[in-house]
């Protein structure tokens, strides 16, 4: 299959013919999905709760880009939105402290919550999570007289995210456990205090999306096309070492032939950063053909929220389906009213 690879030349990008990027007409109606997407594949390369590296093979880039945009802007998470400051005698101003609280990622699973209504005046159990922060800094009684480190001189010198205590609203204790409601990281520094300083506040977290504020983003997401490197001639000796230096580590390997000749070979083009450094050297620039495969997308998600990396991806696919559903219902509404006329 001619896939229309993107060729990275010294001064320009070229497109080989038969590109899947410029959409071509298809005549495969009435096929069932299994046949229609026969050439499509999804493969997880690496996954844990935080990170995901997944390959989308055979899909159009517009779809993958839609998922990326949805992850960044539309997948909902919980974050602190309102802070009632009762006392704050620390040197961190109220608004700065409130902003810092907003940025703290929470372990709270957003799928158990609803979006808060705009006219709502009460903090309901179904749409908000309450936290309390009460810290007072004082001199440590047993500190050594020659102690100069403020961390040892004072109690509560540092206010960390672990001091945010969850206060259940309504029936939340029946549904949630405290371990699942705390900040995701216990060691986020919120403020530093000196003896006599005190912070007392109440904070409320709500469900929100990234296009409103970046604090609601569930994680990061990006993608790149699979790079391919082809050696068009044998590269040996000094040139092989030079060639290896032109690419990311592990991309080019140097083999030693039985005659003691050093020969470069492509080990793993996937990890290449596509720097095109090789075109700096006239001696080796004719030896390589650098291409990227437009229908093979390497997609990354890095979660920093309650959702696991793959859950973020699943959520974004669901949101895309939701968009289609809303519009389909809307079209039906229009066609129904027209039929009545």
């Amino acid at each position: 299959m001619s896939t229309g690879k993107i060729v990275l030349k010294e001064f320009q990008l070229d497109q080989e013919p038969g590109s899947p990027v410029t959409s071509k007409k298809k005549k495969n109606k009435d096929k069932n999905p299994e046949e229609k997407y026969a050439g499509c594949k999804i493969e997880i390369i690496n996954m844990d709760d935080r990170d995901l590296e997944i390959d989308f093979i055979g899909f159009h880039i517009s779809l993958v880009n839609a998922y990326r945009r949805i992850v960044l802007a539309e997948v909902a998470t919980m974050a602190i939105e309102k802070v009632y400051m009762y006392n704050n005698t620390s040197i961190v101003q109220d608004e700065v402290l409130a902003h810092r609280l907003g940025l703290v990622p929470l372990k709270v699973d957003p799928r158990f919550f609803e979006f808060r209504n705009k006219d709502e005046t009460e903090w309901g159990a179904q749409d908000s999570v309450k936290y309390e922060l009460k810290v007072k800094c004082s001199k440590k009684p047993g500190a050594a007289p020659d102690e100069t480190d403020p961390d040892n001189l004072y109690v509560n010198r540092k206010v960390l995210s672990s001091s945010l205590k969850w206060e259940p609203l309504g029936n939340q204790t029946d549904i949630f456990q405290e371990a699942n409601m705390q900040p995701l990281h216990q060691d986020i520094l919120l403020a530093k205090m000196n003896s006599g300083h005190e912070i007392i506040l109440e904070a409320y977290a709500v469900k929100g999306i990234g296009s409103d504020h970046a604090k609601f983003q569930p994680g990061l997401s990006w993608y790149r096309l699979l790079p391919e490197i082809e050696l068009t001639r044998e590269v040996e000796g000094e040139q092989a070492v030079l060639l290896q230096k032109c690419f990311s580590p592990g991309v080019i390997e140097i083999d030693t032939t039985p005659e003691g000749k050093k020969v470069a070979k492509v080990a793993d083009a996937r990890n290449d950063a596509c720097s095109r450094n090789v075109f700096q050297y006239d001696s080796i620039k004719d030896s390589v053909k650098l291409t990227r495969k437009p229908d093979h997308v390497i997609f990354y998600i890095e979660s920093h929220s309650a959702l696991k990396s793959f859950e973020i991806l699943e959520e974004s696919v669901n949101i895309m389906i939701g968009k289609c559903d809303t519009l389909l219902a809307e079209i039906d509404k229009h066609t129904d009213t027209e039929a009545e006329k």
């Binding site: 959409s23 071509k24 007409k25 298809k26 005549k27 999905p33 997407y37 499509c40 594949k41 999804i42 493969e43 997880i44 996954m47 844990d48 709760d49 997944i54 899909f59 159009h60 517009s62 779809l63 880009n65 839609a66 945009r69 949805i70 802007a73 539309e74 909902a76 939105e81 979006f115 808060r116 209504n117 705009k118 709500v206 469900k207 929100g208 999306i209 296009s211 409103d212 504020h213 609601f216 793959f310 991806l313 699943e314 696919v317 669901n318 895309m320 389906i321 968009k323 289609c324 559903d325 809303t326 519009l327 389909l328 809307e330 079209i331 229009h334 066609t335």
Partner: protein
């Protein structure tokens, strides 16, 4: 990109939003077969994916989308066809997009399951 005017919330479907989600322009250059649809509260996320699918339909002679103004949350989708009503094309494309997404959802589910079974030790780490 559906953020309500008051910030942190998405306006939900049963809320009386004065604007329709889907409208179309009227005037010269607009008829049953050549139509510019206005989709409110959407952006490149849906526009680009949808355009790509509509263009693949052999009955369509032209399809393009634009964001008329970056501060207004809406897109214009222009569909020109030969002999098939533009609404029908849009409807078909949305169905196709939905089907594709449902297929991907299933594929991801299967692949996650496969990966977790192949790497059970990482599951236990948390």
């Amino acid at each position: 990109m559906p953020v309500g005017p008051d910030g942190f919330r998405v306006p939900n479907a049963n809320e009386g939003d004065s604007k329709n989600k889907l409208e179309w322009l009227v005037g010269p250059g607009q008829d049953e077969y050549c139509r510019t649809f206005v989709i409110n509260e959407e952006d490149h996320t849906l526009g680009n994916a949808l355009k790509h699918i509509i263009v693949q339909n052999p009955a369509v002679s032209f399809c393009g989308y634009t964001v008329p103004h970056p501060m207004e949350r809406k897109i214009h989708v222009r569909i020109q066809t030969n002999k098939v009503p533009a609404v029908q094309v849009l409807r078909q494309a949305l169905k196709e997009l939905k089907e594709q997404n449902e297929f991907i959802r299933q594929m991801i589910k299967d692949e996650v399951k496969r990966y977790q079974e192949a790497h059970p030790e990482e599951e236990n780490m948390e």
